[in-house]
Symmetry: C2
């Protein structure tokens, strides 16, 4: 883990300790950033050729293609940074279609005045996350906006992956009788960001769960052909993901509230702040909806992987109440868990 406070920037730009508009201007300062920061950090042959686009081998099969912008504030938080999120988030979106992630693009919108030291640390985190996830960062862009029109650094990544023949995973494929699983505890990322943003102390240190899920997905798919839907419950949490799936598949989903894995410290922080962990963002978890006969094999496969050791069966897909997510409470009642208008906590990813 790199400490951004002690990290030493490899840029030979000692005259420019901070980002200036010229770093986005397409001149020498832009070229310096590319040659001395991005190309060495991302170490990709396609990127190093410095074309307008990367030229890459086309995989056989179908492509998966996804993009996400990252505007998390603060840029560094316990357990991660905008750099890891920008890699993991897009890798995970590809993995949620059952694809194997291959290539990433990275586009930076920098605010004038950002210390190059901070940018260097973020880029280094991205490079490490890409290596761990087995993807190449192959092409990119940098723009600089004037002070007061950004927030340090926004990153947009897009990803291309390959999808094996025969796989058909999507939010429209949940069927009545299917079983709902979660790969681990809920709410860790959101409460970790919240804790630093609001300067809250909860006794224990809350850490983001940010992680690349492609390998966990590959393990799950190898264990059973019965996977219908995969989703990483990021913004809006598990409640939003399952609401979307219920809506898209036109089915009902019933959760067992007592089966939801939540760390005691996350639950305590949520209780204190009047938040519901079902709506808090995760960055290293997936929910899987599988055929009933595949449920045990899926649970075992998830639990056998380090990122799925706290996996649990948490609910069922039903023909009743199509479009609605319902939770069975500890005392045996039922409550509707609606899609919220916005988000409890903005700028979480």
């Amino acid at each position: 883990m790199i400490d951004p406070l002690t990290w030493s920037c490899p840029l030979p730009l000692r005259d420019y300790p901070n980002v200036v508009l010229g770093h986005g201007g397409g001149g020498r300062l832009s070229a310096d950033l590319v040659e001395h920061l991005f190309v060495p950090a991302f170490a990709s042959t396609a990127l190093a050729r410095l074309g307008d686009a990367a030229v890459l081998p086309a995989p056989a099969g179908r492509l998966a293609f996804s993009t996400d912008s990252y505007v998390v504030h603060p840029l560094f938080f316990p357990g991660g940074s905008i750099g890891e999120l920008a890699v993991h988030g897009t890798v995970n979106d590809l993995a949620m279609m059952g694809a194997r992630p291959l290539y990433l693009s990275a586009a930076f919108i920098l605010e004038e005045g950002l210390p190059l030291q901070t940018l260097g640390a973020i880029v280094d985190r991205m490079a490490a996350a890409a290596r761990e996830a087995g993807v190449a960062i192959t092409t990119g862009d940098t723009k600089v906006v004037d002070k007061g029109h950004g927030h340090g650094c926004y990153i947009t990544t897009a990803g291309v992956g390959v999808l094996a023949d025969g796989l058909d995973i999507g939010p429209d494929r949940a069927r009545p009788g299917d079983v709902v699983l979660i790969s681990g505890t809920l709410g860790d990322h959101g409460m970790a960001v919240m804790s630093v943003r609001e300067g809250l102390e909860f006794g224990t240190r809350l850490e983001s769960d940010t992680a690349p899920l492609a390998h966990l997905v590959a393990t799950l798919l190898a264990a059973t052909p019965g996977v219908h839907v995969l989703r990483d419950p990021t913004r809006g949490g598990l409640a939003s993901s399952l609401n979307e799936i219920a809506h898209t598949s036109r089915v009902g989903i019933t959760l067992e509230e007592t089966a939801l894995p939540v760390r005691p410290e996350v639950q305590a922080a949520c209780d204190l702040l009047g938040m519901d962990p079902l709506y808090v963002a995760n960055e290293g978890k997936l929910t899987a909806i599988v055929a009933p006969e595949a449920a045990e094999a899926a649970l075992e496969a998830l639990r056998g992987h380090p990122l799925g050791k706290d996996a649990a069966i948490i609910g069922r897909v039903t023909a009743e109440h199509p479009g609605l997510l319902v939770a069975k409470t500890a005392i045996g009642g039922h409550r509707v868990v609606p899609l919220q208008m916005g988000e409890q906590l903005p700028r979480i990813c």
Copy 2:
């Protein structure tokens, strides 16, 4: 052409005339934007399936992959908007490798308070530009940042294209003896944005040249196999593009200053402001570096296309002064045209 002032937003969000943080929160407001604005406007089957990633047929051959962020200010300018730029810029980056653009992603970073009417007009421009360029917008993302941390709307697009076998076009392929062409007049985009940003009146109305270049490139490649380098001289203008090529290919480039096509009104505006059209951004032009025997065929092919009617031969690649761009002036002298540190005019794209 849509007038954003009279354009009527299709969103049924009359309670929310402006973007609020919740539009980026992953809840109902986010879903409304996707369902009622993006999906109908972009009309792409892959997008409409609302998966975490788009699933797409993989082309045979090699892939080209590129990304750019767009932070132009103001969002609308004579001849275009951030919406056209976001499509054309990425389509053109793919075309500059000789690729046929297929798929785009679109990620929006919206500032709280942006009128939805404005967003709707931008999205509509993007959809029209994508249709014209023959690409599908297949996947996307929306984040909202709090007021004072953006500038209305930033857009990042990434693009995937297919590259025919045997093509090898890149900034490292210029050879001594090669001929340098430009597809049309220089500086139109930059001076058009400048004119509205600074409230300048130049008598004539300056218009951006923003245009998709993939069809022009296809026409050129069909006419001759001798194309070595293609580049769209955007930020930093033609001077920066040719400097980069000279540097990457380790050759010198000599321009005939009198051969450079510049509109009289653009030249007048540049003279007034002390700017050099060689450094001003273009968004619908390409420079081609071709083998000497291919020069005439290339010129004819460019001139036969509406986007290349003002094409000209403007210079030569030389073995002398490797890494340097030199201009032969009207009075027969030579001047070095260096890579500038930053840019004369920031936030131009």
